[in-house]
């Protein structure tokens, strides 16, 4: 995977037409700050390599040549790469430096340790950073191979915003024909193994406390929206059970909440807690999980969680990244682009459905990273 990370960095940095970063970046700035970026991510066990272009409307700046120039720049980035030993060495150094800085973050260290312990054997596992040995071992030949894989890989193009020309389709015609069409992602599922993790002490004023549950739910599960509402109710925002109890009632934390990590079928509760509050925090979390399981919460709280989730969907209607994400999930994960049906489905979720989803949750692990526990016993 580190090979692809390096490849994406090298594509972005310079190319055969602009062999210095300065020249390439200046070329883009002259096009009203044309933004060309590359990204590497993952969907289940598939790598996703993304090249993005953002440009101003040519008509807004009265520049009739801007569309052609932008298209040319995009083509240059993808089809005229510059792979040489110096560029590779420089990208390796950038990654090494970036990882070094990331390691200075306590929350990064905490999540890294937790994910390595919990997910190392998981087929979808993507390490937060890779080993220096793996980075050092990448050769120019490997970069060339990765680039040819990229060019022949199944692809999808998304275009958003008003335009007087279909630049995306024009760009596609200039690329080599892929070996295979893009296919839909099958919703796959792998189980997590329960684990006992010892706390890790670090020089900190607080401790980052994690509680991990497995959701046993795939992306195409009919109850996936109910799971989303369960998370909203438990720790999704400032009206959630965790926030109101831990922060507003007991004043034990500034930051507390829960997230769903669908890639691994995980629900994770996280709080930043001072040592003298750790025991009380942990007890409060278990009590809240028990209440969730028994349906022991106000129906009004559930209605508020549903409304907040619906409103978030509606507010995201205007958001660029959310629109792109919805389009992708519609085509390749069989999820609806129009959110009306989903909103109606969320409205219909009741306490019994939430309880049903809650009862599927299984405890996986707890982990504490940071200041020493005021009382060394952990639940």
């Amino acid at each position: 995977m580190v090979t692809y990370r390096l490849l994406m960095g090298m594509l972005r940095a310079k190319n055969q037409r602009f062999s210095s970063k300065t020249a390439w970046n200046s070329h883009l700035e002259k096009m009203y700050h044309l933004q060309l970026s590359t990204h590497m991510g993952g969907v289940l066990n598939t790598y996703e390599l993304r090249v993005s272009m953002r440009m101003v409307q040519a008509a807004m700046v009265d520049d009739a040549t801007l569309n052609d120039q932008a298209l040319d720049a995009l083509e240059t980035l993808v089809l005229k790469p510059l792979f040489d030993a110096q560029s590779l060495a420089q990208e390796k150094q950038f990654l090494t430096d970036e990882w070094t800085t990331k390691r200075a973050s306590k929350s990064f260290q905490a999540v890294k340790h937790l994910s390595e312990q919990l997910l190392a054997e998981h087929p979808y596992y993507t390490p937060l950073v890779e080993s220096q040995a793996a980075l050092d071992a990448v050769t120019l030949d490997a970069i060339h191979d990765a680039y040819h894989t990229l060019l022949s890989a199944p692809r999808v193009l998304m275009q958003l915003g008003p335009t007087d020309r279909d630049l995306g389709t024009e760009f596609l015609t200039r690329l080599p024909v892929p070996k295979a069409p893009m296919r839909r992602f099958d919703a796959q599922y792998f189980s997590l193994k329960p684990l006992t993790l010892a706390p890790l002490e670090d020089r900190m004023k607080q401790t980052i406390m994690f509680d991990v549950y497995e959701t046993h739910m795939r992306d195409d599960d009919p109850d996936r929206d109910a799971l989303m509402i369960l998370n909203q109710l438990l720790g999704g925002d400032s009206e959630s059970m965790l926030f109101k109890t831990i922060r507003e009632t007991h004043n034990m934390a500034y930051s507390v909440g829960s997230v769903l990590i669908s890639q691994y079928g995980m629900l994770m509760i996280q709080g930043m807690i001072s040592p003298h509050n750790q025991t009380a925090y942990q007890e409060a979390v278990y009590v809240l999980m028990d209440q969730l399981l028994k349906g022991d919460y106000a129906v009004d709280d559930l209605e508020l969680a549903k409304q907040s989730a619906i409103e978030r969907i509606k507010r995201n209607h205007d958001a660029r990244s959310a629109l792109m994400g919805r389009a992708f999930n519609h085509v390749y994960r069989n999820q609806p682009f129009d959110q009306t049906a989903r909103i109606n489905a969320i409205r219909a979720i009741d306490q019994a459905t939430i309880t049903n989803v809650a009862q599927k949750l299984t405890y996986v692990t707890s982990f504490q990273y940071g200041a020493a526990h005021a009382n060394s016993e952990t639940a």
Partner: protein, 418 residues
């Protein structure tokens, strides 16, 4: 070039509150923000003609407490009305905001109730101390925060800017109900505030409704005071080293500017020229940056950040380093020699800034926040764009010359703990 101005309208509600509406046709979401002129730097109010000191972190603490409604939280009301609410405190301002797709008028009324008639209690103030202390504690575990605040304490010893907006652990614990009430009475008056709304709305019924409601408190005899606190004539130390849980060395240099200007426009024009100058010297199109990266003097983390407020102007330069002294000398030399400040690059920079401005128009949040920030000086983001269009390379060079003749600097090196 097409006009980049978005349609705007301004009203004076009940002749007390300024309401500005920025229309974004086709947007489903509405974003609204009310801003008050009190931030982390304010340390006094005027009561009975006398300056009364207020503790560090008071503006931020009050921001938290305005959400209390006699022990309950007003966030729930916004949620019931389909809105997401938030607030933030900067060195100069406190802002409260919501975004929603429905019930805009109801949410505006709730926002006005929150800021003008908060219902916090002495018990609620005491409870909040625990939460804000946890907020303070979470920043203490970040070594880069320690490095930044060491630099501020060095450059601005005993000035309010040297203290975190949150305050200190001691000032948080010393906060009390009466102090917060007095600050609220002084600053949270509609005459001092601006409400900015952006979205695709029919504003007439909203303005009509707001004009006929009892929304505002009685005028107060306590008033806000401008920022007090003399900047120290000299800096504490030119170079400081601190240890932290890091795995490389990091260099942070700050340049403090104490210039005075004839008008806000003159200040903004100077700041703009300085900003363009710093971009040309140090951004990713600068030949100097690429040379220094190739030589390992700086790395990809190299960053220049400008904090430009009416009372405080600070340029921060940071990077991971191998030899801080070599990097320091190279940066100082670039400020002096100004490699790459050509007419061609200046024109390129102008185009790039127009592009950035257009990208910014896509965001309701960015549009409203920028408008609120510049309103403090009675100008708009478009005025800044116009200023930029008439600016010359000579203006930029003059700004850098003035900067070079007047700054005070200090640097803090963050090293791995032995």
């Amino acid at each position: 070039m097409q006009t980049l101005r978005l349609p705007e309208q301004t009203w004076r509600i009940q002749d007390r509150l300024t309401l500005k509406y920025i229309r974004r046709a086709g947007y489903q979401k509405t974003y609204a923000m009310i801003t008050f002129p009190i931030g982390g730097l304010h340390r006094h109010v005027i009561k009975d003609g006398k300056h009364v000191p207020i503790p560090a972190g008071a503006a931020h603490f009050l921001e938290h407490k305005c959400f209390e409604d006699d022990g309950a939280e007003l966030t729930a009301v916004f949620a019931q009305q389909g809105a997401s609410v938030n607030a933030f405190t900067s060195p100069f301002q406190t802002s409260y905001l919501f975004e929603t797709t429905e019930q805009v008028l109801a949410n505006i009324k709730t926002l006005l109730k929150l800021v003008f008639f908060p219902n916090f209690t002495p018990e609620g103030v005491d409870n909040e101390k625990g939460i804000i202390t946890e907020e303070w504690a979470s920043s203490q575990d970040n070594p880069f925060y320690t490095q930044y605040h060491t630099l501020l304490e060095t450059l601005y010893e005993d000035h309010p800017f040297s203290t975190d907006i949150i305050g200190t652990k001691e000032s948080i614990n010393a906060m009390d109900y009466d102090t917060l009430s007095m600050i609220h009475q002084a600053v949270y008056q509609p005459e001092h505030a601006t409400l900015i709304i952006s979205g695709d709305l029919d504003m007439a019924p909203i303005v009509n409704a707001l004009s006929g409601l009892d929304l505002f408190p009685q005028p107060s005899s306590v008033t806000p005071a401008s920022i007090k606190g003399a900047k120290p004539p000299v800096i504490k130390a030119p170079t400081i080293s601190v240890d932290g849980d890091v795995y490389a060395s990091y260099w942070l240099q700050g340049y403090r500017l104490d210039l005075t200007f004839d008008s806000p426009e003159a200040r903004l024009k100077y700041y703009l020229a300085l900003e363009i100058g710093c971009d040309m010297l140090f951004d990713q199109t600068s030949p100097w940056v690429e040379t220094m990266q190739d030589q390992g003097v700086i790395n990809d983390s190299f960053d220049v950040d400008l904090t430009l407020y009416p009372e405080v102007a600070l340029i921060l330069i940071s990077t991971q380093v191998k030899d801080p002294e070599v990097t320091k000398q190279a940066v100082d030399a670039q400020f002096k020699n100004r490699e790459g400040l050509t007419e061609a690059r200046f024109e390129m920079q102008k185009k790039a800034n127009i592009g950035s401005f257009i990208y910014g128009l896509d965001s309701l949040q960015g549009t409203v926040r920028n408008t609120a920030f510049y309103l403090m000086d009675g100008v708009t983001p478009y005025d800044l764009l116009d200023m930029q269009m008439t600016m010359t390379l000579e203006d930029v060079l003059d700004a850098l010359t003035q900067f070079h003749a007047s700054y005070m600097k200090a640097d803090v090196i963050l090293n791995p703990r032995a």
